[in-house]
Homo-oligomer: 333 residues x 2
Amino acid sequence: MPSPTLDVLTIGNAIVDVIARADEDFLSAQGMPKGSMTLIDENRAETLYGAMGPGTEISGGSAANTAAGAAALGARAGFIGKVREDGLGKAFAHDIRAAGVAYGTPAAADGPTTARCLILVTPDGERTMNTYLGAAQNLTVADIDAAQVKSAAVTYLEGYLWDPLAAKEAFLAAARIAHEAGREVALTLSDAFCVDRYRSEFLDLMRTGVVDLVFCNEGELKSLYETADVDSGLIQLRRDVGSAVVTRSERGALFVTKDAVVTAPAHPVERVVDTTGAGDLFAAGFLAGRTRGLDPATSLRLGALAASEVISHMGARPERNLLDLARESGLLA
Amino acid sequence: MPSPTLDVLTIGNAIVDVIARADEDFLSAQGMPKGSMTLIDENRAETLYGAMGPGTEISGGSAANTAAGAAALGARAGFIGKVREDGLGKAFAHDIRAAGVAYGTPAAADGPTTARCLILVTPDGERTMNTYLGAAQNLTVADIDAAQVKSAAVTYLEGYLWDPLAAKEAFLAAARIAHEAGREVALTLSDAFCVDRYRSEFLDLMRTGVVDLVFCNEGELKSLYETADVDSGLIQLRRDVGSAVVTRSERGALFVTKDAVVTAPAHPVERVVDTTGAGDLFAAGFLAGRTRGLDPATSLRLGALAASEVISHMGARPERNLLDLARESGLLA
């Protein structure tokens, strides 16, 4: 088996975020469950955009954020996801490449426009997301670059990929190629509502060994096992998958396997501005550490550091130099 | 003379900012004078965009930022400026309306794309701007809504409008309409390089009474009078125009007339993140105060407050509730 030439390859919906501030009343008036991700169609996207405040457009997409974060921490990262040839698609491609991520998925020449996520950030920093999947829905098996998947130590898939119909096949194809090459496959559960939509399929992926490593937060864990009890969820999780990272917001994170539980504290944050991307950047930090050969505790701390940076400003891509921050914190030499 | 139904109407280039972080080496390699605004063509915009880091897109444009800031402080504000019917144009129109600004300039159906400004922010928070004027160049006299100009207590024009050829006529037409209606005309000198391009024309506007109130910083003042001595510039400025606001960064600001000099300190800032829009928001605060009937000292302090907010984050539009901030500071009841 040749040495990997990529550390992390992530596959997900290629999305540009349109971020605006909103108060709780706006969420209520629009009937949005705070903290959730809701799929919307283009009409609803237009209506909601018209009603919301001034926006900031920043490239996003869960798995794409993770790739950008991993690259910012020195990992060799790649991303696969579909945009259309339009203004937002061009911005998405520019931004992810400018972040140092290998990105070669061809843009669609026609069909739906590039995906966008209308994100409302409430004064407490919590984000509520409304996603128009657009061109991202047309990711297919043909977009999976087998050589790239084989070359990556970890292929990381987002649970949100279960939403667009064709992407599911792409997801499974990538996992198969990765395993045939002796690589690791990771899955983030993405969102408690997403877990609710695809619970049995996600459990199947874990139990049949399609995924080796799961990322989730406590809400997603509880949703997965339909339990209010995190501890009971953890017991089931350790039985169902080889290893998992469970984030717990300000209470830090856990890395669990069948045999071991490793914990790490959260990284202090002066002021939470926008939680968008917290989970994505935690995964980025953890994977950057893991593929460097760091132990799970240090990898968790790198995840916590990357997450703390991204929630201290608007947008889900790192703004500060994560490598410098990691060195200042003594996590990297 | 009927009471004004708008407090501030601003006219300027309608621009979307694409903001990226860059180090000093990048500016040197690209041959950019730090802190300047350079006009570029579409080819150069493409090349530079390709070379720069991941971008954040936020509506900008100097006079548009001022309108948004004035509205955020409770002023009735309007904006006139030209976009094209494209993605960025749609975002610009949405954002300024969502900021509470009356905006009715029709978008161009064809011709150059919506203007964009590629802004490189160095670690010291200083911004270096590269503007592709695109559709903004096609602002003409026909776009000046005479009724709107007549209805505004102050019509505020940006010096940058001297760059697109046809806009100059629009600028002069608006000033004439405003004066015929007994209203005030303000001009920001925009940029020391802009002053250098149009020095004699700007001086003419002031000396012939086309503008009543000038906004500038010390660099622009020195450029205007080709002097290294701010005091000598101030003497000439007070002779040439009815009144002026001169901003001096962390040393506060002055309001000067032939008879009086009023000073105010800068508003404290925890960390300067991005100076884009500092002058625009200073003008917004000052004009919001002035059109409310506040005295010049308090109006200057409102300007300083608005400027301090906008330099504490990326982007040139206010993110926090300026009215709340002004009330907390005791500047507004």
